[in-house]
Amino acid sequence: MKKVLIVDDAAFMRLTIRSILEKNGFEIVGEAENGEKGVQKYKELKPDLVTMDITMPEMTGIEALKHIKEYDPNAKVVMFSAMGQELMVREAIINGAKSFIVKPFTEDHVMQVLNKILII
């Protein structure tokens, strides 16, 4: 089972993502509500995949992505972004995010992205 870490400041989003992923046979090894905790948990849990929100308190998703990538250049991080954050998503891609999912998302979209990333 693939291990996933969910980083999002909205508990609702974490729950939604978790339920989609669990339904599709992923194991959620951890959740974090801001970038800083996300980085910490990444080091702790070594997940196969991270879903990362962009707008978060303490440390943004972009910063967290940079830290995770610095720690593990092979980290697979998928950004979750809302419309209107194109520039931030671009920055995330430049900094090594594997892909991104635009909110509001569908189960189908999320699974497509995650499955593809895990194959690569």
Binding site: D9, A10, A11, F12, M13, L15, T16, S19, K37, Q40, K43, E44, K46, T55, M56, P57, E70, Y71, D72, P73, N74, S81, A82, M83, G84, E86, L87, V89, R90, I93, I94, S99, F100, I101, V102, K103, P104, F105, T106, E107, H109, Q112, V113, K116, I117, I119, I120
Partner: protein, 694 residues
């Protein structure tokens, strides 16, 4: 309602989280309004909150909430990025609060299982107008949209060369690829960008159409309709290239063609360029970092994570836990004080019993502390009440808050929020005078309402104080007479008793009921609410100085430390916290005044004595003070002495309210409830405050 995610837990979570965020937002707005400017932190916070609400509600397809949140987010994005100087804070606050109210209402609808069908179009419209006014006023940096439009006009289609101009012939193969993304995957331009970004590993000669994928939103349409075209030169074989392209996420369709010659490519080479040298330099050193990191992680694996984490638990589970602990405390007493054990020498049993006692104590403290919540959220809600009231009534009021960190049981908090709001409204509406009157009286223009909470023994006092005109005794008496709630002749009544008339059902001093206070219900609702949680309300007032309303609420409903005493065959429990001392009196210290009231002199102070057996008409053989025991109790700085037969011992007792049929029959003064003792007998818990006032 959403078709996609109808799952209850998610909706619950959405409601819970949105409610919290909205509260936080409201607080932030009110604070900002008070300091009459929105700080960078506040703007960031509001932006983030709106962003989260937008995302979550869009997920559940509550489009009205999400579009409203979106428009507010846009507004704050502008504020954050452009830092305009011409913001009309008061209008901004009004708009925001209106939005807050709208979302609150919608969330409330969701909570009740209704559809969130409100329409915020008008408000969104006003927010957008507000934003465009800001934009116009902030000419120095014209809005980003406008810049874009201008650019497109002048730029037309330009080809973009992404890499440095190395000789075009270093690579052997040229390809043309057209990528189609799946419908609805969103941000096609950025997806295209990431394709290019990935390709940079294989070549430095890439050209693509449309070229301005980042800066131009309109190219999204172009990509959707015509696909994203990529031209590149590389050494990779067709199969390799195909594989790379197939990794593209949300790929619907790929056309990959190997080009015979460079002709199509060359047209790109003449124009602009930018280097991506940096990227290539970075690649090797990343591997080095990776190695180091690997070693590091191996070490780290062995040290367990020490982070503290939180979980949220449903209140009903906590309630259940509390009940169970209560039962356990009783069970413990039943075991340890079991009558079968009487007069037995049981050293080991006693030791074990002490250990059990210690653990149950700790456990209980822990359960209590879990349930304790600070009053701050409840108090800060009042800011909004004050603000709205002031705007409507044209009064100026400053709300001062003290002791917001005071903690009370979660159940209790829920019960005092409404009464508190009612009191604050009343204070503003009836208490605080209009500006002119205040100035004429030599008071400050702004009225002051103080909310204060403090711990006093086993209870918490919440005080609502205003510096308004005070209560009018004549008004109250007149009204009381009209409504027939006067229970004794007015000459016999103390000021306090008169003031407390306002808490009686069917009483309301204002003839016309205003929108805020009143509502056809009087202060008796406050009393009722507070009494259900075992608290009490009292009022004091000085004409032209103001009114003080004090709510006394128990810290917790469940378990108290008590001293069991015996009178005849009855048992009573006095909360240990109110006991000052207990002693056997000397005959000589007892004083009887001409009215027959008995008093005792202790260290030069005189205290009244209450004979419990007289108050509750219990038969006992001990009526002589020197045969029994005196327990001095204190509450609110007032002391009294209780006379009982003997002390039985101290123990934790679970407070149960008196059965309804007793309460219905007659309200018995001085009793706070009852409890079950270890031997199965029932003990009445004395309410010290009530006894003192008997």
């Amino acid at each position: 309602m959403s078709v996609q995610y109808t799952n209850e837990p998610m909706l619950d979570m959405l409601i819970f989280e949105t409610t919290q965020l909205i509260e936080q937002l409201e607080q932030s707005i009110l604070n900002s309004e008070k300091s009459s400017c929105y700080t960078e932190d506040a703007i960031n916070e509001i932006f983030r909150i709106m962003h989260t609400i937008k995302g979550s509600s869009a997920m559940m397809m509550f489009n009205n909430i999400s579009t409203l949140a979106h428009s507010m987010e846009d507004l704050f994005y502008f504020l954050r990025e452009e830092k305009p100087s011409n913001v009309d804070c008061s209008t901004l606050s009004d708009l925001l609060l209106e939005g807050v109210d709208f979302i609150k209402l919608e969330v409330e609808k969701l909570k009740n299982g209704d559809n969130a069908d409100g329409d915020a179009a008008a408000l969104i419209d006003r927010i957008n107008k507000f934003l465009s006014v800001l934009r116009q006023g902030n000419n120095s940096t014209v809005s980003t949209k406008e810049i874009k439009v201008g650019q497109i006009d002048t730029k037309k289609q330009q080809y973009y060369i992404s890499q440095s101009k190395v000789e075009a012939s270093t690579y052997n193969n040229a390809y043309k690829a057209i990528i189609y993304f799946e419908d609805g995957c969103g941000m096609e331009n950025i997806r295209a960008y990431s394709v290019i970004h990935n390709l940079k590993d294989f070549t430095d000669q890439i050209f693509y159409l449309p070229d301005d994928i980042i800066d131009n939103d309109e190219c999204i349409e172009a990509i959707r309709n015509g696909g994203f075209k990529v031209y590149l030169k590389t050494d990779c074989s067709y199969e390799e290239m195909h594989k790379i392209f197939m990794q593209t996420i949300f790929l619907k369709n790929l056309e990959l063609i190997q080009l015979e010659n460079d002709d199509e490519l060359k047209q790109f080479l003449e124009e602009k360029e930018f280097t991506d040298q940096e990227y290539f330099n970075k690649a090797p050193c990343q591997h080095a970092i990776y190695k180091e990191a690997k070693e590091y992680t191996d070490k780290e694996l062995h040290s367990p994570p020490t982070q503290q984490s939180m979980i949220s638990v449903s209140v009903s589970k906590l309630d259940k836990l509390m009940d169970l602990v209560g039962e356990m405390v009783i069970a413990e007493a039943m075991v340890i004080q079991n009558p079968d054990l009487k007069d037995l020498e049981l050293d080991n049993f006693q030791k074990a019993a002490r250990q059990l006692n210690k653990i149950t104590d700790e456990m209980q403290d822990m359960v209590m502390s879990i349930r304790m919540v600070p009053l701050s959220a409840t108090f800060h809600k009042m800011h909004r009440v004050v603000r709205d009231m002031c705007k409507k009534l044209g009064k100026e009021v400053e709300l001062k808050i003290f002791g917001e960190e005071t903690e009370v049981d979660k159940n209790i908090i829920e019960h005092i929020s409404d009464p508190l709001m009612h009191l604050v409204r009343n204070a503003i509406d009836h208490g605080i005078e209009p500006h002119e009157d205040r100035l004429a009286k030599g008071k400050s223009q702004a009225g002051i309402i103080t909310l204060e909470a403090k711990n006093a023994g086993s209870e918490v006092q919440v005080i609502v104080k205003d510096d308004g005109k005070g209560l009018s005794k004549e008004g109250i008496l007149k009204k009381a007479k009209e409504n027939g709630v006067l229970y004794k002749s007015q000459e016999d009544m103390t000021d306090r008793e008169i003031f407390n008339l306002i808490f009686l059902p069917g009483f309301s001093t204002k003839d016309s009921i205003t929108e805020f206070s009143g509502r056809g219900v009087g202060m008796d609702v406050v009393t009722k609410n507070i009494e259900t949680i075992g608290g009490s309300v009292s009022v004091d007032s000085v004409p032209e100085k103001g009114t003080i309303i004090m709510l006394k609420i128990p810290l917790t409903l469940a378990i108290i430390d008590g001293m069991n005493i015996r009178v005849g065959k009855s048992r009573y429990t006095i909360p240990t916290i109110s006991i000052k001392e207990s002693f056997r009196p000397n005959e000589g210290d007892i004083i009887t005044d001409p009215d027959g009231n008995e008093m005792i002199m202790v260290r030069g102070q005189c205290y009244p004595i209450l004979r419990l057996h007289e108050i509750y008409r219990v038969k006992t053989g001990i009526t002589n003070f020197v045969d029994g025991i005196i327990i001095m109790v204190e509450q609110d700085g007032k002391s009294t002495c209780i006379f009982a037969d003997e002390l039985l011992g101290q123990q934790q007792v679970v407070v149960k309210s008196l059965p309804e049929y007793i309460k219905n029959y007659k309200k018995i003064g001085g009793l706070a409830g009852c409890t079950l003792l270890g031997d199965g007998s029932i003990s009445l818990i004395l309410d010290v405050g009530g006894l003192i006032n008997i």
